[in-house]
């Protein structure tokens, strides 16, 4: 195949650019374990409220950090207000009692889809104390835009 000189340069440059993108991603994966939330764990979606993994909802704090248990439903998160410590790992465990929902902590990279029959899980650290808005970002019915919750990140020492 006869390829013009300038086009050859362009094709090599495109190849190098794509490779650079991939190396960047690979470094993120290997170096800082930067992974999208990809937890694989199932649950009976019709028995969420009685399942021992979700019967006690809310925030539990221990020496390692915090665990947040939330059930999403049309059109609310239960519980709707969460308090977590700043600067420590917070693990979210989420499931749905009805349709597919989203869980997005606005102005952070906390973001996952919540699918009935499955448990979503991700761990993150909030550096900045303050109040964050959590929204559902997957269409779930006519009240989709009303589905939100509040995340309060408390500075270290703000509570015992």
């Amino acid at each position: 195949m006869n390829v013009a000189f300038y086009e050859k340069i362009w094709m090599w440059a495109a190849g190098v650019l794509i490779l650079a993108f991939l190396v960047t991603i690979a470094v993120g994966v290997a170096g800082s374990a930067l992974q999208p939330p990809s937890h694989v764990e199932t649950i009976d979606p019709t028995k969420v409220w009685n399942d021992p993994r979700f019967s006690k909802r809310g925030v539990t704090v221990d020496e390692h950090g915090a665990t947040v248990i939330v059930v999403a439903m049309m059109f609310a998160f239960q519980p709707a207000e969460l308090r977590v410590p700043a600067g420590r790992p917070v693990t979210f465990r989420l499931t749905s009692a009805d349709v597919t929902h989203g869980f997005q902590i606005v102005a952070t990279n906390g973001n996952t889809i919540i699918i009935p029959g499955y448990i979503s899980q991700f761990t993150t650290v909030f550096r900045e104390p303050g109040e964050y808005l959590i929204v559902c970002n997957e269409y779930c019915g006519l009240g989709h835009h009303l589905m939100s919750a509040k995340l309060i990140v408390e500075a270290e020492g703000a509570r015992p």
Binding site: A14, P37, I113, I115, G117, L133, G143, H144
Partner: protein, 540 residues
Amino acid sequence: MTRTDRLPLAHLWVAIIAFGIAAAMAFMQALSRASLDLPWRSAKMYYLSVTAHGVLMALVFTTFFIMAFGYVVVTRALLRAPAVPGLAWAGFWTALIGTVAAVVTILAGQATVLYTFYPPLQAHPAFYIGLTLVVVGSWCWAVVMLLSYRAWRKEHPDAPAPLAMHGMLATVIVWLIATVGVAAEMLLQLIPWSLGWTKTVDPVLARMLFWYFGHPLVYFWLLPAYVIWYTVLPRVAGGKLFSDPLARLVFVLFILLSTPVGFHHQFMDPGVSAGWKLLHTFLTFGILFPSFVTAFTVTASMEVAGRMQGATGLLDWLGKLPWRDPLFSSVALSMILFAFGGIGGAINASYGMNAVVHNTAWIQGHFHLTVGSAAALTFMGTSYWLLPRLSGRELELALLARVQPYLWFLGMLLFSFSNHITGLMGMPRRIYDASYGGAAAAHAWRGLTEVSAAGGLLLFASAGFFILVMVGTALAGKRREPDPILWAEPLEPVSARRTLLDRYGLWTIVAVILVLIAYAYPLWAHLRMARFGSPGFRPF
């Protein structure tokens, strides 16, 4: 109008009507985004219009336009009537009946499940059956395309296929591989479940099957646009195609890489493990390459055109191009918008970074640059070129046709850029109301949402111009002997013998192997896992 041209014309008109209804739906959403208190404005109406807009634009307008264009390529590039016209017409009516069933169900408020129709949201069975008929109709088209090519090949055993047909064959192959996924989702999961024959459905399996189809769907839209960029644009611009073999290579790469990439739509999903998402990420970046090559070849072809009109300087060839021709301006402007769309696509595909944009307004900003510009604006521009040549009527309201692409470009800049920014600020997509009870984070999006609405109004005006020109041409265009449909010639003559790049069976086999590598194990592992199905919900 000849008898054989009735076939593409019928498809073209369904596409145009679907586009018009879909544009009206978008207008309602734009007003909603501006938070205007209009009497009929309601959440029910908003989500219904999002569903109708998505289905009519993404599935109906595109599919019917592409089928029309495919038949034009058979008659004008292979220079023969489509094989088995009865099957072609059966496909048309099947897809049309399916479209009407799906659209009526949506407008009756029985299928407000958006165009992604994720279960356990459950629509009326007529919605799923209707969309399945659209796909079945498109399969008839695909078979007619393949049979037409085979008949041509028998008479031309050694010649390479005309480039336009090469690109359309790639489109057909991608479509046939891709639609296996959505057919499985419809037939094995959604249709029996919506009819009450099964009680529950696994939503993660449905999403895997949907996105197995949903990403190559993007290339099903894009490849015919590329065919137009490579084989129509250079001729309209008054030049030649810069490189024929590279164009062939591009289409082959799309056959190979279009499908094994679907998990990049499911980065934020539970139930799909990270390793497979990473494999799909790598393949996704591979598919950037043919688009980079396209950007060079098509731009170089335009430069060739400018120089053939007498340009000699570094950039003065740009001024020699026919910017007043609606096909040329549509394609050129859609390429500029698509450059931004492509960069955004690379960002979306960047694995962990997807968390920043997933399901935010950024996404609607992104795909209005790709399907909404690279594909839709190219298809509109092509309609201005095609309709007079098929119907034997001169283009009416040519001034509107001349302005329309620029209006689309401007509207899309406002719409898309504002949505990219609000998306980065965390505004979710597809929400009726963005106030969130007056939350401070949501307040920051105001202003930009109004820019988005203004962009939407310009786009609606542009769509209206397009419909006026089409209808005006059909009703009042002056009858005359139509100009012939001619394809761009390459700078260097095409080799007389077909090469490895024209071995479609071989590339299809390689594509299927890649699909098996990317999907067989994750699907098998998923099906073996103990899972719980979901009953249906109709919160609309």
